[in-house]
Symmetry: C2
DNA sequence: TTCGTAATTATGCAAGTGTATAAATACGAA
DNA sequence: TTCGTATTTATACACTTGCATAATTACGAA
């Protein structure tokens, strides 16, 4: 029997799960969690709906897995990109801010996903835990960078003060991230990272915009 | 026939529409637009589902009306509260920032609504128009306050620079508003308005935290 | 009081929903 | 090659959804 008459192809469990998760994410971004129906997900992943049940015992389980995947990818992406930058502690901090506010991290689809999941995150304990873990990860990392940049500049701050600075900067960064994704046309290209670096610099009292070895 | 045996009570069209809209908003905040079913809305408004059709020819129409109502209420509320403050231009600006980041403006329900409507806003032209109008209103008002505060301090800035400052401050305020509503427990009481005033002040180069007639 | 009519309820329907279960089929092991 | 079995499709079911239409009922006008 020729391949052309094959009715389907077997994939590994990981490939299928990943395809289903990606199909779920794209639909959730477009139409929300309830709009991402099993049939629509199956169609987008090019399988029949029964297959979903074979890999995820319920739609809830698929959605939770998709959220977990998305959040992990976002965090990894941000940290990986920011880690590439060489330079002083101040440069590192500036790079993290910039990376967080540029594509592919800051992007309409990511914000649409964030918005679509918000309801469920507030009600589902497991999703809430995932959310708080990623949030805390980012904030701690940001706090370390702020401390290093201030140390480097010869300034010392109390733990309380440092905590406040990190909270403020994190709020500004997350906020601008949301704004940029929700209203991509409200900002000129590169404007958003600029505002972020300017604001974070202003809050902690360092000029982040000049590079380390300027004239 | 005694009142106790009445099967229903007639209300004016405005009262019923308002009740249906409020029921819709509370359900959309909890479960998203698709989760706010006609039957659930009717139950929450204490009517039978057929009545909805009598006032709104389609669910889409009800949802659009609810969004319009919500956005108008939010804008009015913010401007009304901020307008009460007496003092210098700097005080006015600080008050607008604070008001935007305190309850009842900054509040989990309002952010949940924002998130739930985001999908529809991006796809429905009428909702997009409503959104952009309210957004522009706020930004223009903010820009006027910034200009006045800078004038008052004897600083003059170019229109381009002013536009940039307003965009930056607006981004920070909206962003913090979202953060505060999405993670109400991440900030101590009063911390968020403080961060907002601090950041906006830092961006435009004025200390907004001291009141006008300090020693 | 009676009565007309608009507000409200009651009932029904076709399409879409998640989930369950049976049937078909690809593909590695023998 | 043959065959077993996990993967995948096919089909069905009970329930929910938005919308439509008929049947009631409240309440002001006469």
């Amino acid at each position: 029997m020729s391949d052309a008459r094959r009715k389907f192809k077997r994939e590994t469990a990981d490939q299928r799960k990943e395809a289903l998760i990606q199909a779920t994410l794209s639909l959730v971004a477009e139409k929300g969690v309830r709009g991402a129906t099993v049939r629509a997900i199956a169609e987008r992943a090019d399988v029949t709906q029964g297959l979903i049940r074979h890999y995820f015992s319920t739609k809830e389980e698929l959605v939770t897995a998709a959220y977990e995947t998305h959040m992990t990818e976002m965090t990894d992406l941000t940290f990986t990109m920011a880690a590439k930058v060489q330079g002083t502690a101040r440069d590192h901090l500036a790079a993290l801010v910039r990376t967080s506010l540029e594509p592919p991290v800051a992007d309409p689809r990511a914000v649409a996903l964030w918005a679509s999941f918000l309801n469920k995150v507030q009600q589902d304990a497991q999703m809430k835990a995932t959310h708080e873990r990623t949030y805390a990860d980012f904030r701690d990392r940001l706090q370390d960078l702020i401390r290093a940049a201030l140390d480097e500049a010869g300034q010392s701050v109390s733990d309380t003060r440092l905590h406040h600075l990190a909270t403020a900067c994190n709020g500004v960064i997350d906020g601008l991230w949301l704004e940029g994704g929700a209203l991509p046309d409200a900002f000129a290209p590169g404007e958003l990272p600029g505002i972020g670096v300017e604001s974070v610099g202003a809050i902690i009292g360092l000029d982040l915009e000049q590079r380390a070895n300027q004239p």
